[in-house]
């Protein structure tokens, strides 16, 4: 019997399969992962998008305050350009995370990483950004694991 959902903190440890609600299909599995992030992190939306700003998978909050995933994806497309500019002109290396916030306290946090050699962006929108990095970390790890196990048979870092 499946145990009850472990808490958010417990979920971020280790690399074993911790998914409670799972499917073997990669895209629905990533969708479930994002849904879980939205619920656990009290997010307005979570989106996995390409650098071009096109949505790959998304999930939005069921509460009244939510963000349109398509708008978040479009934001990712623009942010990718800003990031590219900063990488060339300032960092001389890859920018890992980018956060953009508005005056109301709403912020969009992006994590840039490669998935099966394709650059993707995980974007989350939330009000309280204190846990943003932890949520991005958990999201990236979960997505990587789902995709790499499905297509490569194991995570690229070799853990099971």
């Amino acid at each position: 019997m499946m145990s009850e959902s472990p808490g958010f903190q417990e979920n971020v440890t280790g690399f074993s399969d911790r998914r409670v609600d799972r499917t073997d299909e990669p895209i629905p599995a990533v969708e479930k992962q994002l849904k879980r992030l939205v619920a656990d992190g009290d997010l307005l939306a979570a989106v996995l998008a390409g650098e071009d700003g096109l949505t790959i998978v998304s999930s939005e909050s069921e509460s009244e305050e939510r963000s349109d995933p398509e708008i978040v994806s479009a934001l990712v497309g623009h942010i990718s350009r800003i990031r590219g500019f900063a990488e060339v002109s300032f960092f001389k290396d890859r920018v890992r995370d980018l956060m953009i916030g508005d005056v109301s306290g709403l912020s969009c946090h992006c994590r840039f990483f490669d998935l099966m050699d394709q650059p993707v962006t995980l974007a989350i929108v939330l009000r309280n950004s204190e846990r943003a990095e932890e949520i991005l970390e958990r999201g990236e790890t979960g997505i990587r694991r789902i995709i790499e196990i499905h297509y490569l048979g194991e995570p690229s870092d070799g853990t099971c």
Partner: protein
């Protein structure tokens, strides 16, 4: 832009640099991307380009927020191997850019002091 007390502006920036060893440098630029004040390790790579970069980021950030129907652009923080680069608009006054040490230094630890600096700078321009 009205009269600005650059001595005070520089003193505020220096105070934050002094109290936070994680801060590499602080630069305040005008809306044209020109440097007004730079403090900290100003010989570090990237300082000279910071106001121009900040101006570009600021312009893009504003357009972006508007296009996506979000509120006015308030902060942008980028994280890379060279540390955190923070860009904050100062209204009509200019743009504040701060570089700090890279992770594992937590950006949140100095965020309060940067907000304090932003407030003091805003008061200077009143």
């Amino acid at each position: 832009m009205g009269h600005v007390d650059f001595q005070k502006l520089k003193a505020f920036c220096e105070a934050v640099c002094r109290c936070n060893p994680e801060v590499a440098w602080i630069a305040v630029g005008d809306r044209q991307g020109l440097e007004l004040v730079a403090t900290g390790r100003i010989s570090a790579p990237g300082v000279l380009d910071a106001p121009a970069l900040a101006e570009s980021v600021h312009a893009a950030g504003n357009k972006l927020m508007h296009a996506c129907d979000l509120g006015s652009f308030d902060t942008m923080v980028m994280t890379g191997t060279r540390g955190y680069l923070m860009v904050m608009p100062l209204g009509e006054l200019g743009i504040l850019t701060v570089q700090t040490a890279p992770p594992p230094v937590a950006f949140s630890t100095i965020r309060g002091d940067i907000e304090w600096l932003r407030l003091r700078i805003s008061e200077l321009f009143v």
